[in-house]
Subunit: 460 residues, 2 copies
């Protein structure tokens, strides 16, 4: 046998092994999709979580009910073990419905506007705050206006999300700064409160809440958000009447930290049970809607991965953990606790995958991984393309698994179509009826398929 022939045969053997491997993978992925789409339970689970339990703000009784329910459902889905991870969470409550009014030239020239407190805000005094209101476009706009024009006033941040971004999260990332840092920056300049344009690309009447930041070194002033229609109206009024006043009353409050839990369900690995692949979402939600897309979807999808594997009799080589993280929205304590315990227990995490971008049709997976791992993940793309999952280039992963990055865990995130996400995000209409069954289930399957590839082939 000559050398050429030997290497040719060797090459062919590798090729045919790879091809048959790809065939096995492709057949398994097909099964996973068929199971998700034909016998799926994620949709009915989501209905229960949203419509029977309801909104699940950290520290609320519903958050506790949700913990107990997820424990039970993970068991029913076929988890070998389910356990809780205790963590203390911030306990902010909204209080009575907030009131925001624009006050024009006389007592009859008053208009109530759709506002709500931003998560974590301090309350106003009981009698509310009445002051002149000044419009700025983002934090840059505030700085440009200068202290003299801000002091003693309410600041109205009115930077809209930029519709020309294709990926709406990019538009969100840019506009959300004024929500997060707006009160701190305005307070430094002597403002009394801030009213922030809702982060959405739609023109609607819903205030879109979300967390705001404070630091102890800066005086804490109240922050609320206003619907985009309300913001547009307010802006148009301010053009006509620079002396417009705003009245704001909010009775929200931060109570002492509450005890809560992450819920973790496992299917034990057959070959390397001490190696873990995490798939998770967050169990807490804002209080205005019922947290269907944000992030009931991620919760029921993670549980569904366990159910699909059990239903198909897949025995993964390493352990799969579905994790329902607590307190993503206003503290991230669950994610931190999970990473802390992973470190303490010296657990080897092969990968962590988050689903926290809504229950919409999956388009791909973003990741925070080494270039070599990225290349490996991208090599799987042909297996996913028949399912419309083709985007593997993007960087980024979810905030619950973020603390695992410090332990060099490859972190990934399911990336669904983002066009409708900010219609519902943090509003009264983040509800079950706006989730499509098949779109949700395609996410279940995409997660299940990716986990199949990782448990079979590793990421390194």
């Amino acid at each position: 046998m000559n050398k050429l022939k030997t290497s040719l045969i060797a090459a062919l053997t590798v090729f045919s092994a790879t091809a048959s491997l790809a065939q096995t993978d492709s057949a398994m992925i097909k099964k996973i999709y068929a199971e998700a789409l034909t016998n799926g339970k994620s949709y009915s689970n989501l209905e229960y979580l949203c419509n029977t339990i309801g909104p699940r703000l950290s520290g609320s009784p519903q958050a506790q009910q949700a913990v107990e329910w997820v424990f039970k459902v993970m068991k029913e889905a076929g988890a070998d073990t389910v356990f809780l991870q205790e963590c203390m969470v911030p306990h902010w409550v909204r209080g009575a419905k907030e009131v925001g009014k624009a006050i024009g030239s006389g007592p009859s020239d008053v208009r109530e506007l759709p506002i709500c407190a931003l998560g974590g805000s301090v309350p106003t005094p009981e009698e509310g705050i009445t002051a002149n209101i000044v419009e700025v476009i983002g934090i840059k706009g505030l700085a440009a206006l200068g202290k003299e024009k801000i002091k003693g006033k309410i600041v109205f941040y009115n930077e809209p999300m930029d519709p020309s971004f294709i990926e709406t999260f990019n538009a969100y990332g840019k506009a959300v700064q004024q929500r997060w840092a707006g009160a701190m920056e305005a307070s430094k300049m002597g403002a009394l409160a801030v009213v922030v344009r809702s982060c959405t690309l739609t023109q609607d009447d819903y205030p879109h809440t979300g967390v705001m930041g404070y630091v102890d070194s800066i005086s804490k002033i109240p922050g609320c958000c206003i619907s985009t229609n309300g913001a547009n109206w307010l802006s148009s009024q301010l053009k006509k009447n620079k002396d417009l006043k705003f009245f704001l009353k909010m009775s929200c409050n931060t109570l002492p930290d509450a005890k809560s839990y992450n819920v973790v369900g496992e299917i034990r690995g057959t070959e390397r049970p001490k190696e873990y692949v995490v798939v998770g979402g967050h169990l807490d939600s804002w209080d205005l809607g019922t947290g269907a897309h944000d992030d009931g979807a991620g919760i029921v999808q993670s549980i569904e991965v366990l159910r699909i594997y059990k239903a198909l009799g897949i025995k993964p080589k390493c352990t799969i953990r579905a994790v329902a993280f607590m307190n993503e929205e206003n503290g991230g304590r669950g994610g931190k606790k999970y990473a802390e315990l992973a470190k303490k227990n010296n657990e080897k995490h092969i990968a962590a995958i988050e689903s926290d971008a809504g229950g919409f049709t999956p388009r791909g997976f973003s990741s925070d991984v080494t270039p070599a791992v990225k290349t490996k993940i991208k090599s799987w793309r042909p297996l996913f393309e028949p399912y419309g999952v083709y985007e593997f280039d993007r960087d980024g992963s979810g905030s619950d698994i973020n603390p695992l990055k410090e332990q060099n865990v490859p972190c990934l995130e399911l990336r669904p179509d983002s066009q409708r996400y900010f219609v519902h995000h943090h509003t009264a209409i983040d509800k079950f009826e706006y989730v499509n069954k098949r779109e949700l289930e395609l996410g279940d399957a995409a997660l299940g398929a990716l986990i199949w590839m990782i448990t079979q082939h590793g990421l390194q």
Copy 2:
């Protein structure tokens, strides 16, 4: 200069020309998307078409209103010329609300079920039809049962759409046979009428109408569809009671053909005005909803391409025609008329593109073209991927442009995400409020971008 050097320089020149061409294309596509997403008019146009004009069944007064409105809106969008193409269309009317009842063992054991006539159906006698009902799974199921068990009965076709298909149109294509041919096949075996399970993957209470077929050589029996929930209930009852009867009453009717029109709006090409690229959808719709996804979306998207080109000052090399085809749903007369006139006038069509799969986020373009043209289209994929448009492999194009295929016109179709299409298809909930503005506008832009590539570079 040696030959190697010369050819190297030539190659580099070609390469750099291609690269700069790609850069121009990419910049233009970016502009088209920004214009669609920032200043888009398609969404407000769709609102008018659906909510002010309403359902537009061929031959109806609303179909005529829609013709006049499109004529006006194409002008406003900046078309150089707008003209009508007269065609005679079938004029079927639904009549009074249909009644379908399952009749059990006694007069108190009667349940009304959500049914409606299939498009084109003959009516029942005035007193309705009452007969035993027999369930079959598709046309194969009918054949297997044999004439003896069918004669004198009502046939209940209950083949569900298969949820394991990823692309829902594939599931539709399989299940819709019983709707189209079910009455003919059952009539051959002596059935009195057919009740057909609605074509949808959801469990709902809406009958999903759609066209049914007849031939003159087979006695015409009435056909209706029943909601999936209704079908499931009926099936479960039939398992308990083989003697179940069904009562069906419908007063639908086919009137003499009516005069109607395609509407064509043009932006004249600067270099080859006698060469045409068509973009179109169908203006008629079923009567139960307001034809928002099917196919108001395709209409406003086609008009929007004209508006975007005018707004950006793009002067296409060849002529762009937006076409609002009449009568896609129950006859296809508009599409046939367009092709007939194209042939008669010896018009050179570079390409025809249809949008008739809903106003959802675009995923790609399917096409019925030669392999060489397919390769050329696929070579453009890198320009579209940043916009989530990546599927260029699929075959197929829309039914309005289908008659142009005989003239060897390359035919393409916009392929949006199909997951929600059959939730709304041919029902009372195919309405404006179920269309997302950004998803619709991404379709406008994808069409505009593809037309840019075709008018700049041709397809051959």
